[in-house]
Amino acid sequence: MGSSSSRLSNIPNGQELMQETGFSDAHLLRLYERFQFLDKDNKGHLRSEDFEAVRELSKNPIGDRIVEAFFLPGQETVDFPSFVRVLAHFRPKEKNRTREGAQQEPEPANSRNQKLKFAFRLYDRDRDGKISRVELLQVLREMLGMQVTEEQLQSIAERAIQEADLDKDDTISFDEFRKISFHADPHRNRTGEARACLLEGKQT
């Protein structure tokens, strides 16, 4: 864990980041190393090409959406704090760990709400706060690929909107999205927690 030469002090704003995101210093160090690894030219920030260099990610059907989620609207680079902030969404919820600093007022990054917001952003590419039918279709098309006919995609998307859309505006707003997810079995979100365990250090 401490094999590398970089220390917490090397990370700019390391302490504040730790407080803000809730990562421990070991985590933060690891993420910093990864950030530096991705940042091939040592620019200090990441561009989308760096993300695409991760081979598996480019094979992921929604890989480009994930990458987009890192970039704040309008920006073309991702610096380390932004990188960490996004990844903080995937941290498992700790039970009773008290931390100094603001924990209660701004919502912790890994709260369910924040996770849902992140997921919402994956759908809602144009960031207008609503998932339109077109956007939903795009997501479905990316995930389902060529194996399902267009008419099936249409009807699936239609059904999804029908179910979720309570105010009948033919789009899914974040509130509606949240309502759906609350009806879900809480265990469904375990994928998030399972993966996040890897950030806890259960690394092979």
Partner: protein, 752 residues
Amino acid sequence: MNHIYTKRALSVLIICAFLSLPYGSSGEAPPKPGEGVTILSPVKPDNGPQVYPEDEKSNLPVFTMDYPRIQIPFEITLWMLLASFAKIGFHVYHKITIWVPESCLLITIGLIVGGIMHSVKEEPPAVLTSNVFFLYMLPPIVLDSGYFMPARPFFENIGTVLWFAVVGTLWNSIGIGMSLFAICQIEAFDVQDINLQENLLFAAIISAVDPVAVLNVFEQASVNEQLYIAIFGECLFNDAITVVLYSMFSFVAEMPVVDPVDVFLGVSRFFVVGLGGMGFGILFGFVAAFTTRFTSKVREIEPLFIFMYSYLAYLVAELFAISSIMAIVCCALTMKNYVEENVSQRSCTTIRHVVKMLGSISETLIFFFLGVVTITTEHEWNWGYILFTLLFAFLWRGLGVLLLTQIINPFRTIPFNMKDQFGLAYGGLRGAVSFALAFTLPDHIGRKQLFVTATIAVILFTVFLQGISIQPLIEFINVRRTNRNVDTINVEIHSRLMEHTMEGIEDLCGQWSHFYWKDKFMKFNNRILRRIFIRDRRAESSIVALYKKLELQNAMEILDTVPGDISAAPSLVSLQDEKKESPKPKKIYMAEDLKNMHNILSKNMYKIRQRTVAFTSKHALPNDSQPREILIRRHASIRRSLRPGILQSTMVPKSQKYFSLPAAQNLGSKYPSVRLSYADDHETMSDVAYPTRRSRFSHPKRSSSGAMMPLHRLGTLKEVPSTDVLNESEGEGGSKDCSTPIDPLLHFSGWL
């Protein structure tokens, strides 16, 4: 109408019970074949023309009777029928089956029949010899459990499962054995002659949680998935340790002194047993998968391979005295993926159906005979010993669960909370496996009868008391339940999205968890294993081909939609009442499509393992998703044709209009004829409808129960041969002309 059925069923039951009595009298001949008794006994009463020396001419006997010849198969059949009638009888009264699990009812019936036989001084047929049990009755049940085991939750929890199975059973056995030995020292109970080894042996027998009993009870109590898998897996896999402990202790029981070498040998034997069982199972599974690659020309016997190979795995494991249950479970798990892609759709349905049927029959018979033999064996009752056995069984299980969960919870993503632990501890029912093991106890153990009696007592106690009370208790303490209802499409999409996201993030972070290894395995699977075992390896094309086949089959199913409930007629009336509340039918309507979409999404997502149905009801086939996939495609095409202005809510009133049509028209005449041709497909559907119907009674949800009948029979769609994949588009096109559009809607609503 229910009362008539009840009376009829009960009367048939009683008649059958009495009929079987005289036939049970010749109890010497074991009624199962293969027991080595030849029927061609010299005793042939009045068989054939006999020449009496007094008569000069012999008359041709017009009517002869030769009972011993058919005795064994006849008795087997009668017993099976009796048990099955009992099963039918239970379900006539819905209320019973909610409160009392079937196992209890069956044991009760067995007790009654046993009581009758005992009072008439008849001997029961010596069916429940342990040989018969282990070789004939147990494999179908285990195959059933293994085949429908939800693979993905199982593999995700495999550490927990193995932990509970191995360490838990070990803990239980040793704990119970030791404490019983301590009890034996007390003079008051008069059991001082039981030494430590025998106590340990007995403890090994009764500490094994039994798959038959547990699953019977748990499938009704819809607990959360983690708990279910933990207990499901535990009871299947503790067979390994039970076998080892049993053989070790029975071996050791003969010896006065235990060497440390024996303990070491016991440990190594455990590995042999466990890994050997798994190895054989996987081996046979692969062989079966490979065989089915070449069976495209002999579709009719495809299901046979599945059964033969599983059974072979079981027998070979028995041959080497390794864990046969593990062998057959691993065989089924391995085999299932590949076989289901190779065989035809009909074979797949047949396999599933027959597995379920055999499992159900075996289970029924086991419990039934448990009841019968309870009455008819000699018992040796010892209050102290038996009561303490019960106490310790309970105590040690509770302690064990508590302790083990504390140890393993940190490793789990979703830790078991206290309520889950209670469910785990309380759900440890013992059943027929313990019983059979007790019967196979070597005779040199002096107190064998006591052990048998104690085992029966423990079984009856756990099955009755715990089995009946577990569901109310679980509801009372509010164990996390599963969301058995189909989730909305959005949740499904969202879950898939999150999975992809997680994979992406994982790749991004460059860290690997066990998902990575699973991914690796899936890649290995796709690259190598599937090439060997699957005939048509290109995943996309096989899915497309399957869809086409299914669509054709589904076209046939649309013709024959009704699961033949005559009682559906009143439901039409209730529907007319519901007409006023449009949201509800709308929801029903959508829920069906949801299942379809659910399944399409499940089957088609990249890189994500197919989610099998998380839970399968013990008494029904799992949600046969593939026909429903077709339904949705049909539906889409149909809706296209109706698209202008007829979406969502407006669709439904249209269907309701149909309900108000005089329903009686086409019902009576057309059903029998249509049903004959599509009998097998239709049966599957009705079975699929079953689990949801069952859950409906426990949740007071108001919805239209019973099947809806299509009011418009289609005579125009002909049965399309399933191999003719090119007819897909024609099938779709052709159906649009008829008034098909409404039928699937009714069809959908009926299957809830």
